[in-house]
Each structure stands twice: as C-alpha cells, then as structure tokens.
Subunit: 280 residues, 6 copies
Amino acid sequence: MVTGFKSPDKLRANDVALIGLMSDGNSSFLAGAATAPVTIRQALHSGSSNLGSELGVDLDHNPRFVDTGDRQIANVTESFLTIETHINEILARGALPLVLGGDHAITYPVMRAMCKANGPLSILHFDAHPDLYDDYDGNPFSHASPFARIMEQGLARRLVQVGIRTLNQHQREQVTRFGVEVHEMKTLDLASIGRDFDGPVYISFDMDALDPACAPGVSHHEPGGLSVREVLDVIQRLSCRIVGADIVEYNPRRDINDMTAMVAAKLVKEIAGKMLQSNA
Amino acid sequence: MVTGFKSPDKLRANDVALIGLMSDGNSSFLAGAATAPVTIRQALHSGSSNLGSELGVDLDHNPRFVDTGDRQIANVTESFLTIETHINEILARGALPLVLGGDHAITYPVMRAMCKANGPLSILHFDAHPDLYDDYDGNPFSHASPFARIMEQGLARRLVQVGIRTLNQHQREQVTRFGVEVHEMKTLDLASIGRDFDGPVYISFDMDALDPACAPGVSHHEPGGLSVREVLDVIQRLSCRIVGADIVEYNPRRDINDMTAMVAAKLVKEIAGKMLQSNA
Amino acid sequence: MVTGFKSPDKLRANDVALIGLMSDGNSSFLAGAATAPVTIRQALHSGSSNLGSELGVDLDHNPRFVDTGDRQIANVTESFLTIETHINEILARGALPLVLGGDHAITYPVMRAMCKANGPLSILHFDAHPDLYDDYDGNPFSHASPFARIMEQGLARRLVQVGIRTLNQHQREQVTRFGVEVHEMKTLDLASIGRDFDGPVYISFDMDALDPACAPGVSHHEPGGLSVREVLDVIQRLSCRIVGADIVEYNPRRDINDMTAMVAAKLVKEIAGKMLQSNA
Amino acid sequence: MVTGFKSPDKLRANDVALIGLMSDGNSSFLAGAATAPVTIRQALHSGSSNLGSELGVDLDHNPRFVDTGDRQIANVTESFLTIETHINEILARGALPLVLGGDHAITYPVMRAMCKANGPLSILHFDAHPDLYDDYDGNPFSHASPFARIMEQGLARRLVQVGIRTLNQHQREQVTRFGVEVHEMKTLDLASIGRDFDGPVYISFDMDALDPACAPGVSHHEPGGLSVREVLDVIQRLSCRIVGADIVEYNPRRDINDMTAMVAAKLVKEIAGKMLQSNA
Amino acid sequence: MVTGFKSPDKLRANDVALIGLMSDGNSSFLAGAATAPVTIRQALHSGSSNLGSELGVDLDHNPRFVDTGDRQIANVTESFLTIETHINEILARGALPLVLGGDHAITYPVMRAMCKANGPLSILHFDAHPDLYDDYDGNPFSHASPFARIMEQGLARRLVQVGIRTLNQHQREQVTRFGVEVHEMKTLDLASIGRDFDGPVYISFDMDALDPACAPGVSHHEPGGLSVREVLDVIQRLSCRIVGADIVEYNPRRDINDMTAMVAAKLVKEIAGKMLQSNA
Amino acid sequence: MVTGFKSPDKLRANDVALIGLMSDGNSSFLAGAATAPVTIRQALHSGSSNLGSELGVDLDHNPRFVDTGDRQIANVTESFLTIETHINEILARGALPLVLGGDHAITYPVMRAMCKANGPLSILHFDAHPDLYDDYDGNPFSHASPFARIMEQGLARRLVQVGIRTLNQHQREQVTRFGVEVHEMKTLDLASIGRDFDGPVYISFDMDALDPACAPGVSHHEPGGLSVREVLDVIQRLSCRIVGADIVEYNPRRDINDMTAMVAAKLVKEIAGKMLQSNA
C-alpha cells in the first residue's frame, strides 16, 4: 500500500474521495490516458493556482477532500472487476468517489458500483460523442460503448448528454432505444441544462466535450465544442446532490504546455466543491 | 493521372467534387499552405472521428462525395490558367467543386470558372481580412487581392464578408468602391448573416476568419475571431443552394498537434453536407 | 542612449509613449516575462498584420505613437524607484505611458508616478487574480500584491476588476477592506463594465485575464477566462479618457507559435488607438 | 501535367532527375511520409542555406539538375505499377532518378525499373532496419519488406546495409539467405564502407539510419544511429558511379522545426552532387 | 494488487524484474519524473520497434523478463523504506531488479536492499553529475546526494562514474574522500571503461549522462554528454555479471516527441539483455 | 543606467566583462537573435546547473566575472558606432569583453574596438559559414559579411575558421584573397586546431557551427556540424591568451525547450573560464 495518500478505509461519510484509474487499454485510437491522473494531480498542486473553488469551497487542507491515490489497471480482461472493487471500497465508507480516468471505458464498472450503492442515478454526461455504440470494432467494452452497457443494464435513471456533435445513424437509433436526453451542440440551450434533476446525480465528464482550443490534450479532436466557462456555468448552477463523478479521456501525450491538465484540475476543484457543498 | 482518386471525367451532376490545389506561391508572409490538402484529407480520414455531418448527411462511402485528388501548382505565372482549367473540368460534368487550398490567391481563378458556368454568384466570404488590396507589394494576384480582381471583373453578384477585423483606409475605400457587404467582428450580429441570399451561393472560407485559439495553423494570426461553433451555426442555417466552396490558407507548418487540420476537416464535412443537401 | 527609439525628452503632450520594462524578479512561479516587450514589439511589426486599430486609428508612421524602447530591470531592490523614474520622465512631457511588462509587480511603481502626475485615477484592471495579497511568501512587492499597495496608499480612486476567478478567503477580505469593485467570471455581465467611469482611467491588463486557449503564454494558467473579442468589446466601448495603461505577465517561454505575442500586439493597437482617440 | 517542373520528356542523358513520390500507404506504424517531397523541396529552396554541395558542385541554376515534381500515389494496389512507370520515363531519357519518398515500400518498384534499364546494381542501403521481412502483418509489399522482394527477384548484384541496429532472428535468417552484407552499428567500421564497389551503385537512404537526435522526423525512432557527418563522409568518399538514389521515410508530422527536412535537403545536395560528378 | 503485471512472489531466480518507482519528491529543480515508468513502458511496447536487443537476446514473450508494474511513491518521508521493501521482495526470490525511476534519490534505498542481499557491489554510474553532495539545500536525501549516502554507509565496493561534467570544489573533495573513480567527459577514454570489474556490478543510469541532443527529456540539461552509441558500446562490452540496474531522471514533461522515452526503452532492452545473458 | 548589473566604469584590468548586444537588424533570413542575451543569462543562472567551468574556474560570485547587462540596438544605421563605443568603454578599463549577440554582424564593430586596443589579433572563428560575402543582397554589413570587412581593414592578424560546410565559388575566392585558414567539416582534423597560435586570440563563436541536433535554436540549420564536446575540446586545449570573445546567432524563437540556450550558457562558462585562467 502506498503511503501519503489515504487508504480508503480511513474515509468517512460524505468525504470526497479522489481516485485515479490508470487505464487506457480500451481506447480505439490513441493510448496515453493512463498517466492522466498523475499529471492532473501535479497541475492541481502546481503552485500556479490555489485550491479554492469559485463558489467558495476551499480544498486546501480540507479534511473532507481525501486523495486515495492511483490504481494501475494493466490487465484489460480483469480491469472492470478491479475497478468495481476499488469504487465499492470507497462507497462502503459512505464516501463520494471523484474518479480521474483513464479512458471512458471505466465509467461502466464505476456505474455498476454506484448503482449497487445508490440505486439507478441520473447521469449528467458531458461529451462530444454519445458513447452508445453497441460495440466498437467488436469490443463491447470499448471507450465508445460504456453508456450502451449502462443503459442496457438499467444502471441509470436518466442519461442527459451535453456537448454531443458526432451522432451517426447507429447512435441516433441507440438514443431512441434507450431514451437518452441529448443536447447537441448544434441546437444547444445551455441555460436549460440540469435545472430539472430531482434526485442524486453522477457527473461523467469526457474532456473532449470541450472545444479542442480549450482542451487540446485529448485523443479525439472534435471542433465546435463547449468553452470551459460554459461548462463551469452548468456545474455551478446545479442544485441537486452530486454523489459521484468522473473526469476522463485526458491524454497528456497530446497536451500542449499542460494546458488541458490545468483545465482538468479546474474541473476537479469545481466538481469537488459542488460535491462537498451539496452533501454538507 | 493519379489512380485511387476518381478522375473528373467520372463525375456526375451534383456530385460534390473535392479537389486540392497545392499552391502557396502568392503568399506574402509565410509559405506552407501547399501541403494543406494532403494534411486535411489525412485528418478527414484519421479514424479519430467519423464522416457524418451534424445535419445528418454521411460522407462515408457516399457515392455523391467524390475525391478527385490534388494538383501541384508550381509555376505561379501559369497557375491561374491551370486552376481555371481544373475547375472547368469539374463544372463541365455538372459537379460542385469543394476546393482545398492553397493560399487565398486561388479563389480568383476558381471564381472565373464558376462565373463562366453559373453566371455571377453571391459569395459568402469568411476571413479576418477583406483581401481587397488593389495590389500587394506590387503583386495584383497576391493572396491579399483576389476579391479586388473578382469584383472588378464582375464575377460576383454580391460579396458578403464575415469575420473582418483588419480594415485600413485603402481597404475601406475598396469596400465602398465595390459595394462589399462587410460584417466586421467589432459589431457582429451573427444571427442576421446569410438569411437573405436569394440565389446560388459560393462559400470562400479563409481559416484565419477563426480565432487563432481555434485555428493556430494559419500564416496570419489575427486575434479576436470567430469560434468554430459560430461558423457552423451560420453554415447550418443557410437555406440557399451552395454550388461551390473553398477552404484556404491552412498552413500545416504553423499547426499544433493537427488541431487546425481537424477544424478544416470538420468544415469539409459540414460544407459538403450542406452542398449535397441543398442540391439533392 | 540607444537611438532608433525616441528618447523620452522628445515626447510631446498627449503622445502615447510605448515603454518596455524587462522585469520578472518578483514573479512567484515562473520567470520569463522579462523578454516580453521585445517579443511583443516583434509581433507588432511582424508583417503578418497591419498597424491599424479596429476603430480606425492607424499607428503606422503615426507621429503621436512613440516607441521609447525597453529598460532592463535587473536589481529587484532598486527596481521600483527606477521604474517610477522612467514613468516620471514620460509624464513630465505630458505624454501617456503605455507600459509593456514584465510581471505585474511593476504596476505599483507605475501607479505611484501616475498618481503624482494625475492624482488618484480609476483603474480598469483585467486579471484572473485580484493581486491583493497583503504579501506573498513574505514579499509585499510580489506580482500577487501590487493592488494591495496601490489601495493602501490611496493611489486609485476606484479599482474595477474584470475576469477574476481565483478569490480565496484572504482576498475576499481585501476586496471588502479596499472597496474593490470585482466582476467575477462566474457572474460576469460584460455589457455593464466601464459604462460609469467619470474621470480619467488607467488600464492594467494582465494577460491571464484571457482564457488560456487564447493566451497560453502566461505563467499562471487559469481556465475559464475572457475571450479576446470580449476584451476588445469592453475597451472599444469605453467613452472615458485613457491616460495610461500597462500590458503585463506575457511569458514568451510559455508561448506557442507566438500566439500570445500576437494577442498582446493586438491589445497594444486597440489600447493605443483608444488612448490617442480619447486624448485627441 | 503540372508546369514549372520539367516534364520527364525534356530530360537529357545523365541529368539528375528529382522526383517525389507522395506515398505512405504501406507504412506499418505512422502515416505522414506522403507530404515529405513537398517539405524537403521547401527546405532545399528555403533561403536559409545555398544550393552548393560540399564537394563543389553547385545545383543552383544547374541545367543538369532537373526537378520533375511530385506524383500523388493514392491507390496502394496500383501504386507499384504507377511508380515503375514514372521511373521508366526518366530512365528512357538516360537520366538518373533521385527519388524523394514516401515510405520505403517504393524502393521495390523503383529497383524494378532500375534493373530493367541497368541490369542488377549494387545497392548501398542506409537504414536502422534491414527491411527484409518476408511479409509484415501479412503485407509482402510493406515498408518493412522491399529488400526481400528485391533480393528474391535478383534485382541487385550486392546489397550493402549500413546503420542496422534491429536485427531479430527472422531477419538474421533473411540476411544469410540473400547474402546481404550487413554493417551493424554495434561493430561499425565506417572507413571500410563503400571502398570496394566495382560497378554502378544505387543509394537507398532511409532517414532513420540517422540517430533520432539528428533526424527526429521519422516514424520509427531507433536510438544509437549515425550522425549526419558520418553519412556525408561515406557518400563523399565513394569513387564509383552513382546511377540512382532514393531518400525515404522522412515524416514531416513528426519533425521538429523542420530540422529533419533540412537534413534531407542536405542529402539531396550531396547525393545529387556526387551523381553529377560521377556521371560527368 | 494490479493484475496483468506479475506479482513479485511469482518471480524465479535470475529473472529480470522490471519495476517502476513513480517518485520525484526529492528533485531540486523540476518535477515530472514520476510518470517516467509508464511512458518508458509505452515506448518499449509501442510497435515502432521490436523487443530484441542488439546482442541477440529477445525480450518478446521471454519468460525470464518479468514486468512487476509500478509503485506510486507519494510520501517522501516514508518513501525510502517503501522502496527498500519493494526491492527486497524482488531480491528475496533471487530475481534481478531493473528499476525505472523516478528521480535519482531512489538509488540510495535500492542500494541498501542490493547490499543486504549481495554485499557491497561495484557500481557503474552514468551521469552528468557526481551526485555526491553532502546535502542539497539542506536535504541529505535529495537527488543530488544518493552516492554520498551510499559511500558513507559502505554500500558499494567501487563507484565508477562516467560522463561527469559538473564537478565543483565540494564535489571534488567528496570524490577524494570516498575514493570515487571519476571518468570526466573532458578527458574521457571510453574504451577503458568497465574492463576491470572483477565481481558483480550494478548499473545506475541517469539519463542526463547523455547529451541533451539525444535525450532532451531531462530536468537538468548539461551539454557535452555521451551519445547513445557510446553508452551502448560500454554496456555491450561488459564481461562481468550485472545483478541490478536503474534508469532514472527521465522527465516526460520535458521530452520532445517521446524521443527520450525511446532512448530509455532502448536502454531497457540492452541492459535487460545483458543481465539475462550474464546470469544465464 | 540599469542597476544590478555593474557599470563598465567599475571594471578592473583583466576582468571578464559580459555584455549583451540585442541586435538582429542585419539578419538575412530570420529575426529573433535580439533577445538572445536575456535568454542565455537566464539559462546561465537557471539553477539546473552550477556556474563552474570544467577546467575548475568557478564563476559563482567570482569578482573577476562581471555582468554589465544588455544594450538594445534598434537603429541599424548607427548601431556599429554604438557597439564600438560600448566595447571601447570595456577595453578602456583593461577588461576583456565577452559579448553575447545578436547576429554575427556585430563582430565587425567589436573587432574595430579590439584592434584599436590590442592591434590586429588572431581570430578563432567557429561557424558553418565563412561569412566572407563581399555583400549580401546589397548589404555590406549583413551578418554574412563581417569577416570580409574585418580582413579588408586589416583588423585581424590571422583568421582561423572551424566547422565550415557551405563554401561556394565566391566565398572560396574570398578565402584565397584574404588568406583565411579554413578547416572545413568534410576534412576536419580537430586535434590540430589552435595548437599554433602565438599571440593573443579572439574567439568568435557562431552557434550554427554546432550540429543542429545540439543547437536547434539558430536561424540557419546546416546539418553535419560539430558536437558540443568537440568544441569544448578545442577551447579547453588552447594554451594562448584569450582577450575577447563573442557568442552569436542564438535565436530563442527557434529553440526547443531552451536546449540551445543551455549550450550557449555552457560556452559562456568554458570561454569565460579560459579567459580568466589565461589572463590570471
């Protein structure tokens, strides 16, 4: 066991538990997301900014913001069980996981654990892609498919997607089949998003939801995305309880001057702040 | 003749014909745009995205989206005649050219061919610069002058410019002289643009219309430009027929991580989609 | 004395006097801002753009736009006195200083000179950070503290801050203590800013007010900032007299393809244009 | 036909004919070599150097150094026949081809044409890899296999390889089978190389023969390679007749500041100079 | 426990056990080395090269080359004990550790474990710096001091340093005090190095021993270093038994196009090959 | 007068006086060298290395190593007189100038001052280019011509050039005309260089003498150059008195990760060390 980070068995109820999942074995295009948690953590503590969220929650020496370190996920076959077990450990203490990916494939096992502990949740999903492929190049657990698995197995009460700009025919059919609520970029009304959640919410944030100008460090550049401020506006306006979150698909090997790592660190601060505030 | 691409004589009416013009001999500041068509095509087929446009037209294996390959334009003196001939070949089949530059100088010979086939068209011109110089450093065919030539020779019915932010005294006089409709960035009302076209339209898209944050791979950085989403909104809202288009001034040697190539590829998808839809 | 630049004693009343202060000895995180003035000037004259401002003031061969060159500030201890002396020389001729930093620490000695010549001014301060620390790591003159010094000594009539997104508890207390008018990003109403200035104004522009996507060349990346166009809108709408300005914290060592240098050069053109116009 | 370059039918005996083959469809790892010829030519004419070779042959306005432009090779299936035809056209005039790749797969069809015109030649092959795979991932024409094809078909009298540092068991067997003369980096005696050629020689230069420090713009980094000066020494010392050459596997998308393009351009000058000198 | 990597308790005698230590808390200048093991492993398996060493040992599916994964070392205070324990686990099975750092501070606890298992070893130490500081900025365990600790505690029989080019007065005194055998770059006779080892040897390889042209991805650029080939020559000529090794101070955040990661991966192949061969 | 640096009138006999000349107005190809002195000084003091030379002279707090700061040279017409005056000031005190350029054009006025104080000196000139053009594009004072001017005016006793690899016909004639001793790269015998100087020597070091792999931050990449170690060997072996030196043509805008700045800083240390030692 690595020291310096806190072991999950030291967690208390409603702590926000940061956990990194170093995994990119299910990426279709470019590997690299595995080192993301280490790099995001370096950005978070880099000294070029402070640890306060804009809404006034300070993470600095905050006893409720607990870093449980990273887990190296090398064996793709067993990785989902491993991930589910890691999240179960956090949830067993009543803590709230804030997961740093790794690629988006991890959200499926994370949601399995979340659902077991909380029942089906509403998911607020930021992404350029709906990630609803029945399978991708024959892999049903690829990073293009997690939400197909989640919806099939009834792990979510609602799936609300924001930032989508790559729907093709197959994915449109999946949207209909699963009753996904899609807010495409081409007709986006940001002010309306997140107003109507009536139960606890899980946030799944794919960094490519953002415009590549703000977040170049992703494997799949899809121009025409959200600005950082638009995302912060949605998150800061949420009035529901946030019980878990992930920030995925940051790829340090594609980043420029750590620009995207700083964005991911900003999201850690704002999402963790919201989680602490809404579970106070 | 290069194989693998389709020869222009295989084109059918209303096909969208992609054609690259590898030319940067008329650039005033930095060469490099010559390899742009090859790099944009690589981005288009890179596997990091799909070939669907946001409005639902899929270019993947679409028989009406035909790639006719690139032409190397080395001799500046004869280049305009050469370019005009290439476009004539496409138009002779009733196809719709989608040209990848090359620098902006190519738009003049392209419009000569377009005008011969269609009569004077309305031009929707995205750019940071009006490109209306009578001549630039003595070169009347430089990439700063194509629209002066086009307007003098009556090749356009209307010239509507969007994104302009570098008007000086001489160019303001040219605007007045030619009756150009200029939408400057400093007073831009995006919603109004393109609503009133009443005939077929040609789109000339200079990549530096975009803010350099979105499109760093251009020779002339002019901060304060359009976002990719703003551009897509204008294009997607067009209700007129689009009969031709160019995407110019992408400079791969200035690009970062192929960010700008991906933007150009996105524009290919959305403009080609609109061309196919509006000529169905 | 270096020739080619004009000596301050050649200045006339209401000339805009460009002056670079090569200083980064008070930076807490990353050095590099010292060479900023040289690089910004290269961008300004690079030939990839012209010297016209969007509002129609042309700086090219403009006799009222005078470059007085750069000053190398190596000795931190004596630097503030040195800087104050340099600005005094400009003000003694009735000219209007447009200062290129250097880090933000320079604004304190610049304002000492400005206040001596003009009395307390209103300051329009663009920044991600309020820079109101009582001291930073024990340094009361660090680049995180200039506005604490300015407010304590009554050097400003009003301090209006725009773009702020890093307020912590200590800085919130300083805001209250000094009566600073803070426009945080999270609730920003851009249209309202700068409408109500009733006397002469000094603009202090920290490049990190901008989103890092537009201005990556800064030491402190704070995502979720202003776009270049939003900044230009505020500046172009100002109807008050601008009697001085600084553009600080550009760090060429962090820049990408001179993108941020071009933004700083654009700001020089628009701010200088406004200064000339409002003091005509 | 592109103008500005000379058509092959204008070539005369013993002219050196530069020709670019824009092809990377047979690359196993990273595409990108297709734009290499355009970028190398830009480096050659960039103005940052002159066109003189170190041995005193000046290519500037030299009537015997003829640029025939680039060919876009898009269809992998037909590409080899196409390439062979292009080289045949040059050889039919008695000219000496200097080919810019493109990936290394092109050397096989080039050698087919060379052999038809000259009979089997000695090949001086610079490379990190022997490129003798019977097939690579099932592709017998991949860029890892050209010399297996060349040796099987008796297209070379001798194959002398320099810079090799990746021999595995299969390739060692191929070396024995084909009687290849391998000069591995680990035991390299540079002074001995090329002393004993007794007939005309073809030079095939894979840019990854060089150490990645000198030539980072290649798809396959194999540290521990040759320095540029070591390569120039070997080439400058050759006393045989050089009747053809290729420079392949430069990948502009991996290059840094055009460093590798400048190296390729230097090789063009030195190899072309040697070809002109040895065929005077 | 992470699966996919092998647990140390599966090791057998004379296996080479790869282990990453993600640690950079003792770096004086720039953090970043923590993610090095993940990035080096990606380079090793990247598909741009094969897994064969130049001397003919193939690591591909080699049952004696075992990857035990990475350990995250977050708590500097307890890190040395943690590291020593990790290495003890490997040595307890009779296996041979090949450690990927992390910064050079790790070599001290590694040598404590090595010495306990093997008695004092000869160390072949490649570095630009002697790393013999009594302490650095008050930290006796900094990455500038490991060999002072090792020599004081008698953990090495001989310390042979190669590539040194930064000796100052203090370090010269330490050299004398500890009887270190220093081969400075300024008088280097490479052929003589390593000829006279008469017992088992540990190799400690700091990436900055190499010239920054070959290995830019290090925190401390010290020009005038070794080439990759010179290093390979020394290693390949060793005739002693190699019982352990480390490769440290690779900093992915400073790297360019993964150039240095590929060099580190090459060193893994050649050192592991030599370890397997010399312990067969 | 800038404080922190010492004023030239504080210099004593045989002090080494560092002085930066921020000038690139005579560059033919790419500007950028003007900021070189600031960046080299930052590298020298960066904390990633120490200030000791390899031969044992420590510059740290060394009273004989005096930094007189930088001079901004904006007016090309008057620049030579200005430069000559600056160097005269240093020489008037008996100090030894170590000049940081700026482009190579500065060496001509520096040598005018040197010759006036010392009589004609031997010059040891490291460069890829002989810089002997009678004029370049009509400019007799361009950075391609300084040694033509120096030789014409008899300012040097001997001119020994090392690293040359771009001689064309005109320059060969100049070599003969002026009796320049040229050591071309293609036949270089390093051990012989500098053995036979019998009087005081001035070193003029153009960074492009080095191979671009070691020193990418130059305007003119000329592959096949010297390694850093080869240069250090020549300098360290010199047994004559060094009375002045310049290090020119470093271009920070072309540099990668400050690699070339670190090389220039290393040269400052080794050349200053040699100057101090040989004038002790």
